[in-house]
Symmetry: C2
Subunit: 296 residues, 2 copies
C-alpha cells in the first residue's frame, strides 16, 4: 500500500541532501553569501516542485538520479523567487516558513545577491547533471524549458502582472493567466523536465502537461483559500493579507464555496490526465489529492 | 589594414540587432517588464563582453553566428548586474550610461524583476542557440561555464566580497581575487565560451584563458584609474565615488603611476598569450590595447 506521507518524507530528505551538496557552505571572504543562500534554501518548505520532478521521472520509468539535478535547480529558483518577493521593495514580508525572512537576517543587499546567486547557480547544477550520464540533448532542452518557465515569459512575468494588477479588478481569465505564469510555469517545468530526463515519450509529455496545468492551478486556488481560512501559525507565514491588500484571488472572484469546488474539479482533471500511467504514477496522483486537501 | 573602431562599431550593431530579437517588446499585461528590460539592455554600453565572445570565436576560425547566442547572454547578464548594483539597497546610483538608472524610471520592484528576468532569459537564449546548428555538447558546456562565472563562485560572489570589504583595507592579492570574481569571471566566460562555440582546441582555450585573465584585470585597473582621472561627463556615470566611499582600488593600494604601469604590463601579457594565433586574433589584440588606452 502506497504511503504518501512516507514518500514525501523520503523524497524531501533526498532533495535536502542533494541541496546541501549543491550549495555547500563557504569558507572565504564570501562565506556570508553562502550562509544567506543556505539559510533560505535549506531552512524548510514542502519541496513540492523538486518532489514533482522526481515523481514525474519515476512515472515514465526513469531512474531518480536522472532528475536530481533538475530537482535541486527548481527548488533553488523557487527559493530565490521567495527571497526577492519578500524584499521591502516587493511584498516587504518579515516571516517565511515560520522564520525571519532572508533580508531581515542578512540585510537587503546580501538578500538580493543571495537570490541572484541561487537562480544563476541553478543552471550550473542542472547543466552539470549531464556529467552524471544523463543524455546531453535532454539536459539542454530542460535548461531551455526551465529558463523559459522562470524568466520574463513565465514566473517573473507573472510576478510583474501580479504587482501591476494589485489596484485593479481582474477577470477570471486574466487571473488564470497570471497564475499560469507566476506559479504554473515552474510546476510545469518541474514535471515535464523530470519526465524528459527520465526518458518520456511525446505522448507521456503531453499527458503530463495536462496534469501539470491542473495541478498548478489547483495549488494556487488552494493557496488563496488558505490565506482566508488558515491562521498565520498554521501556515508559518502571514495570512489574511490578500484581502487586506485588495489582491485578486479566486475566492474574491468566484466565491469561497465555488473555489473549493473548482479545486476538486482540478484534482479530477489531474487524475484523468494520468489515466494511462498505471501504478508508476501513484505518487503524482496522490500529490494532486494532497495539494487540494490542504484547503479542506 | 585592420580598423578597430570600425570593427567595434560593426560588431556592436550586430549585437544590438541580436539583443533586439532576444528581448522583444511586450504587448500584454507584462509589457512594462519588457520595457524595463529593454531600457537598460538596449540603451547603450560598449558591448565589450559580447564583442569579446564574437572575437574569440573568430580567433579560432569559428563562424560568428555560433557565438551570437552567447554574446546576447553575456550582455544580458552584465546588464542585470548593473541594474541590481544600482538599486537603493546596493550602490544607490541615479545615473548609468548618461541616463537615469532603471529603478529611477521603473521603480525598485520592477527594476529588481527586470534584472531577474534578464539573468534567467540569458540561459534561454544561450540554450536555444543549439537549435541553430551549434553542437549540443559545446552549448551545454558553455551553459555550465557561464552560470559558474555569473553565480556564487563568480560575479555575485565578487560583488558580496566587494560590499563586505568596503570598510576594511584589502591586500593586493585580496583585491585581485575580488576582481577576478567580480569582473574577471564574466570576461573569461565570454572569451572561452566564444572560442569553445567556435570549435577551439584545448591548447587554444588555454592560451585564451591567459589572455582573458590579463584583459579582465587590466579592465578593472583602468576602471579604477578612470574613476580618479575622468569626469562624470566623460564617463556617463558618477566618478570620484570610489575614494569618497573608501573603496579598495588599485591606485589606492599601489599608487596611481604604478597602476598605469601595471595596466601596460597586463596589456603585454594579453598580447603574449595571443602569440600563436596569427592574424585571426587581431581584434582580440587591439581590444586589449583599447582597454588599456582608455586609461591613458
Amino acid at each position: 500500500m502506497f504511503d504518501l506521507n512516507r514518500y514525501l518524507k523520503e523524497r524531501a530528505e533526498l532533495v535536502q541532501n542533494a541541496l546541501e551538496r549543491a550549495v555547500a557552505a563557504g569558507e572565504g571572504a564570501d562565506a556570508r553569501l553562502f550562509d544567506a543562500m543556505r539559510y533560505s534554501l535549506l531552512g524548510g518548505g514542502k519541496r513540492l516542485r523538486p518532489i514533482l520532478a522526481l515523481a514525474a521521472c519515476e512515472a515514465v520509468g526513469g531512474a531518480l538520479e536522472a532528475a536530481l539535478g533538475l530537482a535541486c535547480a527548481v527548488e533553488m529558483i523557487h527559493t530565490y523567487s521567495l527571497i526577492h518577493d519578500d524584499l521591502p521593495c516587493m511584498d516587504n514580508d518579515d516571516l517565511r516558513h515560520g522564520r525571519p525572512t532572508n533580508h531581515k537576517v542578512y540585510g537587503d543587499a546580501i538578500a538580493t545577491l543571495a537570490g541572484d546567486a541561487l537562480v544563476t547557480d541553478a543552471f550550473k547544477i542542472l547543466a552539470r547533471s549531464a556529467l552524471d550520464g544523463v543524455a546531453v540533448q535532454r539536459v539542454l532542452a530542460t535548461v531551455a524549458e526551465l529558463s523559459e518557465a522562470a524568466g520574463s515569459g513565465g514566473m517573473v512575468g507573472g510576478q510583474v502582472i501580479d504587482i501591476l494588477s494589485e489596484r485593479k479588478r481582474l477577470g477570471l481569465d486574466e487571473l488564470k493567466l497570471l497564475h499560469s505564469k507566476k506559479t504554473g510555469a515552474m510546476f510545469r517545468a518541474s514535471i515535464l523536465g523530470g519526465a524528459r530526463l527520465g526518458g518520456a515519450s511525446d505522448a507521456e509529455l503531453e499527458a503530463l502537461d495536462a496534469y501539470a496545468h491542473a495541478l498548478g492551478l489547483a495549488f494556487q486556488v488552494v493557496d488563496d483559500i488558505l490565506d482566508i481560512e488558515a491562521t498565520t501559525e498554521q501556515m508559518g507565514k502571514r495570512t489574511g493579507k490578500d484581502e487586506a491588500a485588495g489582491k485578486n484571488t479566486f475566492p474574491a472572484l468566484m466565491g469561497l464555496e465555488e473555489s473549493h469546488g473548482f479545486a476538486r474539479e482540478l484534482e479530477r482533471r489531474a487524475h484523468d490526465a494520468l489515466a494511462g500511467f498505471g501504478a508508476r504514477a501513484q505518487a503524482l496522483r496522490q500529490i494532486a489529492t494532497f495539494v487540494v486537501e490542504r484547503g479542506r
